[in-house]
Symmetry: C2
Subunit: 221 residues, 2 copies
Amino acid sequence: MQEKLEEIESAIGYRFKNRKLLEQALTHPSYETTGSYERLEFLGDIVLDAIVGIILFKEYPSAEESFLTDLKSAYVNSRYLNNVGVTLKLERFIRHKSHEVPRLDNFVEGLIGAIFLDSGWKRAEDFVKKTILNKKIEPIKNYKNILSGLSKKHFGIDTHYELVSEKGPPHKRRYVFKARIPGIKYIGRGMGTTKKEAHMQAAKDLLQKLSKCKSFSILPD
Amino acid sequence: MQEKLEEIESAIGYRFKNRKLLEQALTHPSYETTGSYERLEFLGDIVLDAIVGIILFKEYPSAEESFLTDLKSAYVNSRYLNNVGVTLKLERFIRHKSHEVPRLDNFVEGLIGAIFLDSGWKRAEDFVKKTILNKKIEPIKNYKNILSGLSKKHFGIDTHYELVSEKGPPHKRRYVFKARIPGIKYIGRGMGTTKKEAHMQAAKDLLQKLSKCKSFSILPD
């Protein structure tokens, strides 16, 4: 383990004073409940959110709140953070007893929590800048919010989401949802590995269908 | 306005170097879009989350992540923050052009963002300790998560939520949802002013019904 810890330290560019924190950040609950990353992940999640949010707030002094929210989402969502974990090759260092390799986003958040506890805000911020904010990416549009606002404004009612199907084993679930606005004939459909993702895709689909309809030329792009 | 600003400063126990920030934090988007609290609220929301989360993490060194999450929710949810705004008598100081007095939680978050920008983390933390963390409160149990975990574990499928009804004008909406687990005869019902609240109540109701059933004696309290 000792050698591995040194290797991961050089991969993430940070040397721990207290290596127990690093070990904990790399331990999945399936391996060991008490010494797992769960508390560190709680901490890392909120610290990451604040670091990214504060940096974006300053970087875009005239951007609207919705742009900041969407851009923050793009950097802190689980899919993006999982990719950060892949880039850092965390798979080689983590300890778990699951049938499959667990998602890596929680380990990334655990590492942020561990660095924050070990050395404070500034070093956690350095890590976030170097590994997460190091790419320019597009904001993730929250199609559900856009559709919801539109639906309430024009029809006085919110969008409804209904589960169409749910398939596959627990770790590879596929959800299909439909989105509809009561009284409107168009229906949006979306698929995703989480309900949230399926809702979002269904909202996006419905927005696209509505935008092709002449009476909705007021719709945003 | 000048007098009012001094009054609010003494009410919140913080004197601004840059009073423009205070004015902005007290301005609803209905009054003025460009100079409203929206960006400050974005900042205050994440700073508040981090301040509360870090304090609770240290205060409860052996608590599980789920306890920390539930206790943080209890302090940062919109209902609680709205009450903080009522206690601070923010209603007397805010500027808006809505038909009704707007919710006060967003102003509270705006104030936190404004103090953070004006003086940094430490002073924002002082304000949060004095006005938000000054009461001992119970964690808010996330019944949706509890039910979802249980449903997946015992039945290999997630809970479904269906809208039963949606009534009332936009600013006083009442949602009723039902929660059910496919293949299980019990149904939970919940009402709320937001969908989230209605889901949560429906999950709570279904959990209570399941806990009365002998075959589910494994259920948590």
